[in-house]
Amino acid sequence: MLNESDILALIVTLKLAGLTTLILLLLGTPLAWWLSRTKWRFKFILEGVIALPLVLPPTVLGFYLLILLGPKGPLGDLMASLGIHSLAFTFSGLVIGSVFYSMPFVIQPLQNAFTAIGRRPMEVAATLGASPLDRFFTVALPLARPGFITAAVLGFAHTVGEFGVVLMIGGNIPGETQVLSIAIYDHVESLQYTQAHWLSGGLLLLSFIMLMSVYAINGQFKVGRNDH
């Protein structure tokens, strides 16, 4: 049912979504942690900025990223002077665009989860001799697990379904920047509905199995609360 280029697109998609989620969790975790702890007066500005990419239509966001990353754009200039080739039409470019676009979905659940922990468990860990980094990993992260699940699921799924940004800065190069969402879109646009149905169905099934496993595993560890 799936032709070769569809399979290629599937692989690119999984690679892109996986990498994006990973980068977002890596970047987002410290940022969300900082946001949940800081008493900085103007933190709300930063919070606003983080949610901002959301309101632009993805294609438009992609358009601006294209201009930004292009050789004439401010970032393109900078990168050229550093000897880095243009990022447009490359897999790396896609990753950057997706990271940018899916950021709020990862930051916000994490920030909420970290805030919900409160100060006490961290204080307890400190009195037990755990350094800030140690207690972050051994106390804050496990206690924030529901937030991580949500962040990862939203980040991953959103990247899989993402389309506008990727379309715009990716250039739809098979095996490199052609992702599944574009492939399905192309089928729909070119009236190859049967193929579109198959591909969508497959994607849904795959995602459903993945999502369900995540939730099923998550449901097995219950983060108990000290309130009973």
């Binding site: 006490r120 307890v124 009195t127 037990l128 001799g129 106390v139 206690l143 009973h228």
Partner: protein
């Protein structure tokens, strides 16, 4: 070796403003009414309350001085919090191991097995925190703090959730800590009984200020302090094990004012013990009486008499140089015509023996 502390912490309309120095050995009790700043003080010592210009020296370690401040995790301390503080994502065992893992092997002085056994938490090891009763949680928290093998132990009302039997099992263990491990314990309590039983040194806190501090025995009998006036007013007496009586299963304890008779304790001859004599339990007679079930009767001189409320008096007695408090009614006082300098017999009905080594 002392613990020197100067803190000034402001919280809305509450100000903790203390400056004290206490011995860095034995148990120091922080005693005061609800809301007087005990928890805040303990948190400050642990480095959990941000405070500028504080000064804190524990033995030879300077933990805070001007802008210099050792972060909590580098202070070798353990802290039993007032409220539940178990990690909810770990089992009881996980909680204990969390503490142990962070102690270098060479520093591990406390046997976890013994702590587990003593606190009776063996059957709970696989449970999660939300599957424990209030007292069980508190016991696990104590065991966890002990497994840190700290250089100083901070305890915030650790026994308040426990029944008397448990309390009496755990208290001697805490007392023994500074003997076995030579670590000072700072112990927050609002129970005079616990304070008398456990502490060597006492800091009285009121409205964020230290109102008095000193050796517990002396503090308890100082008539200018509130401790000598409550229903629980008591004196502490240091004595040594003199003899055992096999016939009646008794132990005789010598102190400068004479010899105490108490129920037999399996302590070696010559062992130092601490006795607590509650003021209400001391009655006075003019003559040495016989035909009474009271075995502990000592001739003593009245050092001071103070009215306690409108119908009672506190009598400060000198028994061979040792201070003893007695509480009597005005009526008894006037029937017996009690006055300073008078010789009377102090009858002590009951004595609490607090094992000790001083």
């Amino acid at each position: 070796m002392t613990i020197e502390a100067t803190f000034k912490i402001t919280k809305k309309d509450f100000i903790l403003d203390v400056d004290f120095s206490i011995p860095s050995k034995g148990v120091t009790a922080i005693f005061g009414p609800s809301g007087c700043g005990k928890t805040t003080l303990l948190r400050a010592i642990a480095g959990l309350e941000p405070c500028r210009g504080a000064h804190l020296k524990v033995g030879d370690m300077t933990w805070q001085k001007g802008h210099y401040c050792v972060p909590t995790h580098k202070r070798s301390l353990a802290y039993v919090f007032q409220e539940a503080s178990l990690f909810s994502h770990l089992t009881v065992k996980g909680n204990l191991q969390y503490a142990i893992k962070r102690v270098p092997l060479s520093n591990r002085k406390v046997s976890l097995e013994r702590a587990i056994e003593l606190l009776g938490i063996e059957p709970l090891l696989e449970r999660r925190a939300d599957q424990l009763s209030g007292g069980e949680r508190q016991r696990v928290a104590i065991a966890r703090a002990l497994s840190v093998s700290p250089r100083i132990l901070l305890m915030d009302e650790p026994l308040s959730a426990l029944d008397l039997t448990r309390k009496r099992e755990i208290m001697p263990y805490i007392e023994s800590l500074h003997d076995e491990l030579d670590i000072p314990v700072i112990y927050v309590s609002h129970s005079p009984d616990e304070v008398a039983r456990l502490s060597d040194h006492l800091v009285l806190l009121e409205k964020g200020r230290v109102t008095a501090q000193g050796e517990t025995g002396k503090m308890l009998t100082r008539l200018d302090l509130p401790l000598a006036h409550g229903d629980d007013a008591a004196s502490l007496i240091h004595a040594t094990v003199a003899e055992h009586d096999d016939e009646y299963n008794l132990t005789y304890l010598d102190f400068p004012g004479g010899r105490f008779t108490v129920a037999r304790k399996s302590l070696p001859i010559g062992f130092s013990v601490r006795l607590r004599v509650v003021a209400r339990d001391v009655s006075l007679t003019l003559a040495h009486q016989s035909g009474t079930s009271i075995l502990n009767i000592f001739p003593s001189t009245i050092d001071d008499i103070l009215s306690e409320g409108r119908s009672e008096k506190v009598v400060q007695l000198n028994v061979g140089g040792v201070t003893l408090l007695s509480r009597v009614t005005h009526k008894s006082a006037s029937l017996l015509k009690l006055q300073k300098g008078q010789l009377v017999y102090a009858q002590i009905k009951s004595i609490a023996l607090l094992s000790d080594k001083h």
